[in-house]
Amino acid sequence: MSQPPAYRREQPGSQPASHSPGYVSTIARSPRQPLVILPHTLSEITGPVYGHARIGPLDADLTRQHEGEPLGERIIVSGRVLDENGRPQPGTLVELWQANSAGRYIHVRDQHPAPLDPNFTGAGRTVTDENGVYRFVTIKPGAYPWRNHPNAWRPPHIHFSVFGPSFVTRLVTQMYFPGDPLLAFDPIYNSVADPKAAARMISQFDLATTVPDWALGYRFDIVLRGRDATPMEA
């Protein structure tokens, strides 16, 4: 058997540091020993092919999961899942979760005194089509306070979870909104030290996917780790 075609190693500076003291919870939850570099084996170049059977027809439309419509600004979030070589990733599971328009999660541990919305859960899932495209209908999440430091506010964001074709390509990120003044103060966003790299988490307003008289469109392409261009033979 030839050597498994490996994935590229991480591009330096593209990812947050696990130990980012501005985000206080990382201090006791990040390793101090150096990571051990693991050359990819069959265990890493394979990964879960999961979820297709569990997708319901309303899972990608967060505005239609209840009796009535949720309050807030209706938006369409769409984009492509690509690898670093620009190749679309079809058939991959995309999961998302978010706060409601008032900045409150339905989660029991969220004690922010903002109203829950009986018509909004804030969780969705879909599978990318043959061109790697996904599309969600939802409402724009609100900002909310947290206890990281005095007067700390999370910028509005949507959590994304993506599998891609292998264990290596797994990605969980947060999508932010363009022009948000809170980004400059957010230690989670700024845990990605290189501003150019951090900006890859900001969606773009997109008139082309905006539906007239109905909802604003935001585009957010998600890039997963790509294959090495030159697979090595054993």
């Binding site: 991480e10 591009q11 101090r32 051990v36 265990s43 990964g47 879960p48 706060a99 988490m201």
Partner: protein, 191 residues
């Protein structure tokens, strides 16, 4: 390394509020009664620098079936596939930091250059305060093949024990605690 046209999107923490979105029913149960192989429980606690429980962690595992084959198109080994075993598990940690999976012991899969690897389970650790996934592996203490495993061989000898799960008295429960920092910090891999 050549420049790539695109660069991987940055990781961000799953935060504390993923519980209503990511865990799914049966996520901790990879094997059913009919799954071929040795049925085992893999469990442990997720602990922080002070040895305190991490009650808002999320653990995912990825493993081969009992025959040593991954349920994935790129595993072309001539070994049986089990249509009911996809090899993926996901569970949140509980209030005391416990996670627990019901699965079968994976068979051995080949490593690079066809060097044999000891049976192992791939683990992703996520949670509030964990900005990017931490990757580790679980090996089984009762496997002689551990001595020759090429990945364990990359790990400084004095730290290998952090990857090796000990069987409990019943012989079917393997425990591996994951220590994010501090004494006996778990070995995490850069993949």
């Amino acid at each position: 390394m050549a420049e790539t046209p695109l660069v991987e999107t940055p990781w961000q923490t799953v935060g504390p509020f993923f519980h209503y979105a990511l865990p799914f029913e049966g996520g901790e149960r990879l094997a059913t009664g009919a799954t071929p192989g040795t049925h085992i429980i893999v469990e442990g606690r997720l602990l922080d620098a002070d040895g305190a429980a991490v009650p808002d962690g999320l653990i995912e595992i990825w493993q081969a079936n009992a025959a040593g084959r991954y349920s994935h198109p790129e595993d072309s080994q001539d070994k049986p596939l089990d249509p009911d075993f996809d090899g993926f598990g996901r569970t949140p940690t509980d209030e005391e930091g416990w996670f627990r999976f019901y699965t079968v012991k994976p068979g051995a899969v080949p490593g690079r250059d066809n060097a044999p690897q000891a049976p192992h389970i791939c683990i992703s650790v996520m949670g509030r305060g964990i900005l990017r996934r931490l990757v580790t592996r679980l090996y089984f203490a009762d496997e002689a093949a551990n001595a020759y495993d090429p990945v364990l061989g990359l790990v400084p000898e004095e730290r290998r024990a952090t990857l090796i799960a000990a069987p409990g008295g019943d012989g079917t429960t393997y425990r591996l605690d994951i220590r994010l920092q501090g004494d006996n910090e778990t070995v995490f891999f850069d993949i």
